[in-house]
Amino acid sequence: MKFTRAWLADHLDTDADPGRIADTLTAIGLEVESIADRAKDLARVVIARVIEAKPHPNADKLRVCLVDTGSERVQVVCGAPNARSGMIGAFAPPGTRIPGTGLDLKKGTIRGVESNGMLVSEREMGISDQHEGIIDLPADAPVGANWAKWAGLDDAVFEIKLTPNRPDCLGVRGVARDLAAAGLGRLKPLEIKPIAGAYDSPIAVRLDFPAGEGKACPLFVGRMIRGVRNGPSPAWLRDRLTAIGLRPISTLVDMTNYVTFDLGRPLHVFDADKVKGDIVARFGRSGESFLALNGKTYAVEPDMTAICDDSGALGLGGIMGGQSTGCTADTKTVFVEAALFDPLRTAATGRRHGIQSDARYRFERGVDPAFVAAGMEWATRLTMQLCGGEPSNLVVAGQAPDWTRAYALRPDRVATLGGIDLPEAEQRRILVALGFAAKPGGWQPPSWRPDILGEADLVEEIARIAGFERIPALPMPRELDRHRPGVSPAQRRVRIVKRALAERGLTEAITYSFVARAHARVFGGGGDDLMLQNPMSSELDCMRPSLLPGLIDAMRRNVDRGLGDGALFEVGPQYASATLVTGQTVAASGIRLGQAQRAGWTGPARPADAFDAKADALAALAALGLGESAIGIEAGAAAWYHPGRSGTLKLGPKTVLGWFGELHPEVLERFDLAGPLVGFELVLDALPPAKARPGRARPAFAPPQYPAVERDFAFVVDRAVTADRLVKAARQADKKLIEQAGVFDVYAGQGVAEGKVSIALRVRLQPTERTLTEAEIEAVAARVVEAVAKATGATLRT
């Protein structure tokens, strides 16, 4: 919403300067987006005399003008047909920003002749579309004076950003009322006297809606004015409209736009001589359409409100009129419409057709239902002033819906809800200034405030006008008897895992929750239910089933930028279905591409392998308190991993925590990446909930009293046997004495039979009662060999 300082002054008696007006507007919720002052912007454009205009030596259509700017004489090359010796025009020196083009004017040479500035047209100055010639001023215009100021353009233009609940401020008067309430001046009275009609309108108006649908257009007021002269509007009207970015068209159309922006009352004018029969407001009919004023043809569907005559639809009610009955310079008889249209239907129709219009903007937010006939009277007066003519009696169909309602306000609520302690008298003064009326049931909101629907709204009105800066800031009350952490155990896991993985050298990425469906399918997703109906692009059309596709895609982009290796992780949601709440789980996943260890003077390069991914996953679990011994590892993982170089992480026999391993070569091909690429996925939500602990005390520290002993064993076993079976068997050999057992070497090749592998275990014995004798140690060792042999068929390597 735009308006000028002078326009505001029509409604508000104030001596506030534009700066104070702007501050107040923002403070009461009418946020100022910009204040423009054309006199300032165009300060360098001066009134100048063309002393002499000679033909350009090298161009037929150009003239070389000697211009007196009041302070100097400059040479300007000009292409305007009306440039002539002796004329007075507007001159822009080099350096001026030309509003019509947005460009900074420079000195130049045009066809070999130097040009030091520009004689400008109205279009170049942004005040009209006139570009036939340069601005031609009266002979008495003072040479050297500021042109914009002389032309009356020295007026601040405010642009405010209105929230959708304030249709009343879509007219300058509404803005003035708010400012007056905020103490910035006095709202001038708006006296509207009915104008007596001289005759009955030959065009009647009917509302023709099915029962129960009358609110589509509850009220339609019309009036004929005959004998009008249409044509260009007077300068003051054109200037006002141009100042707020509207294009003057003709007096009748400009009048409707003016009333729309002045009083928030949209109007429409028909050329009455083109209307066939009466005017009917009704729903559209299948197949019906009309050519709108914007030159486009729109279907008028059965759920849209159409304004029609005997020839069919003329326009869409509250949105846009049609060309067939549009006013032109030849219009002699005009039929003016002031109506009410259903906000929801107006919004839906406008949205469906993609029509943005000033009328739609207002009707969909809510136009004052008590200012229909009065708006028509105002429009009549203005039309008669501008175009002459003789008005008919009003034609009224339907009636305004009852807008009256009242809400009780407990005066202490302004303090107990709004936090601002205001005397009742001030509360009352504010509400009255805004147009509220005290009624037996409470405060009745004015007809132009459809947004006021309860006591909280009244509190807001009072607080907003009093000023939010008057609300004292209070500290949040603290509950001293209550201590709780800010995060839940599950949220704590997320925080810990992120830092644990970063500690491992992986870098955290945040990638989109949606990926390309083709990528989702690679990772077991891509189901119909998780497709977006309206994606940004086909690259982002499906909710991700795993964090891997987003991470791999990010890694590929890094490779494209020239990075050779890298490690990324993400902790975030992945989606198994569109089911609310349970369809998504929190996962922690990471990938490593290329070298896990770069070649350096200390050693050769080592490519990332499945064990790096395994280590990442185990480190994350360890950070969550799940040590390696708690995790079961099984060979094989989901289909997107290398079938022979991947594993499943389990907790107990049933709970799958995730997977790790090399990614399947087909995944690499799909993402256009050269490997090795390894990764892991952990579903954090699969972890059992943390147990509540009564206290934080640790168990007593009991270091072993007797020395531990380590013994190494080299077994030879079939390749098919997994190492964990040997370890498990060794550990079981003496559960009491054996504290640890683990693999420390794996060897296949010379000295080991084909199809076999040598696996070396280190077993640590920790006695608790006394130091072990050599014989006892040998006895345990023998049990280890026996147990491993029995469980796996392994033999001790000799």
Binding site: G418, P475, T507, Y575, Q584, G600, G603
Partner: protein, 361 residues
Amino acid sequence: MDRDSIDRLGAELAAAADAAADTAALEAVRVAALGKKGRVTELMKGLGAMAPEARRAAGQSLNQLRDRIEAAIAARAEAIRRRDRTAKLAEEKVDVTLPVRPTAEGKLHPVSQVIDEVTEIFAAMGFVVAEGPDIEDDFHNFTALNIPPEHPARQMHDTFYLAGGAGSNAPPLLRTHTSPVQVRTMQAGPPPYRIVVPGRTYRRDSDQTHTPMFHQIEGLAIDRSITMGHLKGCLEEFARAFFESDQVRMRFRPSHFPFTEPSAEVDINYTVENGVVRVGAGERWMEILGCGMVHPKVLEMCGVDPAQWQGFAFGMGLDRIAMLKYGIPDLRTMFEGDLRWLAHYGFSPLDLPSFGQGLSR
């Protein structure tokens, strides 16, 4: 043996010890002097044949001789050991200017860091973190928040809709704000509530300042007598703590949201220095969040009696405050996973925000 002879022998053997080039030569000197057949030993053996008087005197001299030689050998041994150690150490010299073994340094994403910072601040004010699903329904995202089906706000949001299950006439959607978690929290149990909700949100929008996914943090405080004054205090305390400056000022402007009444938009003061925004300085205002007192209708729809309970809610762009605090110029770079960018703007895992050691360094 007379005294002079003993002294000469002592001098001779001590000189031999001093002259020993290495441990082996020194040992030869020792054997030659003090070994079973060493010269001193041989002299000692002669003592037994002496008269007691002469033996005492000679024994004393010989003991002194032995001590002298032992001392000379020990001194030489120590000198050799030192010399050899020094030589060995010189041999072991490495080029300490060589680089260390490479280790990869991982970083946390700035949004994760800022979530932890914000959590720290609000936890200190008694808030707990709540969460909810990204995939939501119409009721939680709109209806329960007093946004009826035809409300223009629904158009403003540019919602992503999912295809959803078969036959559903109201398809699931991606939440356009974190506010549905307010609804879920209120439905899950009785008041009071004091929660913050950091999380992913989605709007169908993409340009320099919008990405189709972004992060918000929502706050909700419902109790018996929470007012706009507490809302102001809470947010002012937050802004000063987060931007780590007492100079941060806030401006509350009346605004409009369907789910709050009264509603406000909040600006913070900033200035631009060398093209970089600095918050908490200067006289310019920048909007950073929307807030207000929870609309009675929202409370009602969530099963909370608005006659008994009231309070505030706020919503703020997390990516945006991260950008403001840490000088990140472009939102779109946040979600590209560019390792160079993450190395530059990311955080060490050791940088755990806390009030004790400071929110950031």
